[in-house]
């Protein structure tokens, strides 16, 4: 997958991946639609049955593949269609926030919201707020960063190989291309 740097052409707009639970937040987004509540178009919603299904890998993967932020939407506490999946999601979210922060990613790029099926208005507000926040933060551009790191490692590997060649007087090729960060992740 190609991922040209979105900033170079000057028309960068945030791309946000959202994971919404089927029963509350996805339905609320439908309600926002039925009620024609206009909001920013940067969010791509992926439907899951429950916010408890949100595997932290989904979030990390979305960021790695070029999302500028991830939004998770679930039912309000005590309202989960599956009793307490949203609570399980919250636990993972807290942990994930720390991991993401340790990776040097701004915590605002991760957002968890409880939005009930009746809160179309809240879908609109949260999406607009998040788009606003991320627009100010600028692109996350992880794929580009991965690419740069890969290039650096490759350059380093070449450097080392060249030195080794010089030392050993032209040894055998290592026969292994360095793994990209992206494929290492996947």
């Amino acid at each position: 997958m190609t991922n040209p740097s979105p900033t170079t052409d000057g028309s960068w707009k945030p791309r946000i991946v959202a994971f919404f639970c089927n029963w509350c937040t996805y339905t609320a987004a439908d309600l926002a639609g039925v009620s024609r509540m206009k909001h920013a178009s940067n969010v791509r919603i992926i439907r899951l049955m429950c916010s408890g299904r949100v595997d932290p890998q989904f979030v990390v993967d979305a960021l790695a593949k070029g999302a500028d932020a991830v939004l998770i939407g679930g039912c309000h506490p005590n309202d989960c269609h599956y009793v307490e999946g949203n609570y399980k999601c919250l636990r993972r979210f807290h942990l994930l926030q720390r991991v993401v922060a340790d990776m040097g990613i701004e915590p605002e790029r991760l957002r968890l919201e409880w939005i009930s099926a009746a809160e179309g208005e809240k879908v609109k507000r949260v999406i607009n707020e998040l788009v606003d926040t991320v627009s100010k933060l600028g692109p996350l551009g992880l794929p580009r960063r991965f690419q740069q790191w890969d290039e650096e490692i490759e350059a380093l590997a070449d450097d080392v190989a060249a030195k080794e060649n010089a030392a050993e007087g032209g040894g055998v090729d290592q026969g292994k291309t360095p793994q990209t960060m992206e494929s290492a992740h996947a």
Partner: protein, 680 residues
Amino acid sequence: MKPIVSKKHEPIRIGYYICHCGTNIAGMVDVEAVRKYAAALPNVAVSRNYKYMCSDPGQELIQQDIRENRLNRIVVAACSPLLHEHTFRKATAAAGLNPFYLQMVNTREHNSWVHTDRGEATRKAMALTHAAIRRVPHHKALEVKKVAINPNVLIVGGGIGGIHAALTLANAGKMVYLVEKEATIGGHMAKFDKTFPTLDCAMCVLSPKMASVGSHPNIHLWTYSEVTKVDGYVGNFKVAVRRKPRYIIEDLCTGCQECVDECVYREPKFPDEFNLGLGKRKPVFLAFPQAIPPIAMIDPEVCLNFKRGVNPDGSRTVSDKCKKTCVEACGDRKAIDFKQTEEIKEINVGTIIMATGFQIFDAKRTPYYGYGVYPNVYNALEIERLVNASGPTEGALVTRNGQVPKKVAIVHCVGSRDENTNRWCSRVCCLYSLKLAHLIKEHTDAEVYNFYIDMRTPGKSMEEFYNRVAEEGMHLIRGRVADVYPDPSDGATGRLVVQAEDTLTNKILKIPVDMVILGVGLEPHPEAEHLRRMFNLSCSSEGWFLERHPKLAPVNTFTDGIFLAGCCQGPKDIPDTVAQAGAAAAEAFALIDKGHVEQEPNTAYILAEECSGCKSCIPLCPYTAITFDDTRLKAIINETLCKGCGTCVASCPSGSIVQNLFEDEEIFSEIDGVLADEPA
């Protein structure tokens, strides 16, 4: 990207269809551009756009392509999958393809209806289309699970809505459990005097229905009872009902009321709930003469036979102060049991109808109208009781000091259409205010002043009713009442002055009256929030139970097998409540009559060879569907218990749990798709 080949080495051939939905989608999304974009994506064999995909020709298009172009995956970009997924699954299945080879792209609710920039909306449609086209090759052929449905129905609430639904289902031969919180069924309607627009007496039409409920062989009527726990799901709910002690054994009481006559309290002394405290009752009492079931109950808070307070086990301590004349009067029937305690009954039902009603707005929240301060300010429900022949004054409409009023003001929209209280229109107040105006005129020949904001009388025969009442010589004043205060010239008589601006003449009016009636609005039942959580329902922001679709599924909820009837869903009048109750009964009946429920095959299963036996999934399952096989040291998911939330899947450290329809590969490919760059 290389085309994905399925396990049977049959190449994936996707049919992509984008719907115009008239101009709903095509007006904001360039459907032709999206169609072209999709056509160029891997595995796409056919890409079309069509005006209405959900129409018969639209569905036929898919079926024809499946047959002629050997399609084995279908992607439809149209409205929300929550609306039409089943339509397109059916169309897919009709052409011989497994219905779960379908994926939908929400291009209307999540896109064309909420965006204003055509370019952006089109880009978004492309991104989501890309996601679906990457996802759908991973879809597997799945089978719908069929689970037998329990034919019994629980109806919560015994007002006119619950009564009508119960009778409809019971007459169809279904066993109904009707659970009512109060000691009698009848709800608010039993308190009304006449009903608009026909002015027929409420009890005359209601009491035969109440009696039928009481005697129906297919109805278990549990009054003075509350649902305490709900488990399970459509077809198989397990419900616990608390039957509160009435200290009278239902099966032995004949409803003769001799105990009431013989109570040591010779005169009724305690506020009578049914008459909103305007009348008095004894500690042993029948809610009202036509109560169903016609069984008396004892109020332990005021009965001399009980010591104050409840024992830790829920029983009451009997005192020796009372002569127990009621027990003597009951005699051989032995229906009185002071040792009664509450009982928890467990029942199994397949469907549930919520008919829990409303509460009237508490007029004390609008202090400027003086309700609760000036004795002659009443709410409308109190007036219903006062004009009723079986009410506390036997139908005499009099002020607190017993005078027949000469002038009466009726204030509309109290606690409705008001930023400070409730914003909604309660729908019935204009009409019941007109009805009360008519009844007051009829009873007392008083001058009646109706203060309204807008006169809202929609519905069959309602405008005619308004004209009729207007012609009877009412004062109809368009203006919101600002203040009610004691008449300064005449304070001692309890006479009041109503101040309002007549917005048609731009004059401030100060009208002295003998009685002020507040046309209070309807509010969600105080226990709606508690019930909502117990039954796993959604509420609108106002607190009414939320229907699945405002137009197309008005009695369904988001929880399959639970239906709504009456004012728990929003303010409505009696005809609408009855209509909705009938609809809810029909929906429940349709489910029961089918005999089984089809379950979405989105359950999870464990790949045994990859399970490390760490057990981390087991405590996560809210349905205890996961167990551990001690001999093989692997976790096992019981498919019939699994509800398909996928929480265990997300937690499995070895990635050995798979959720059908939401497999990891499917989600990852969606993520890839939405982030693949669309052409500018």
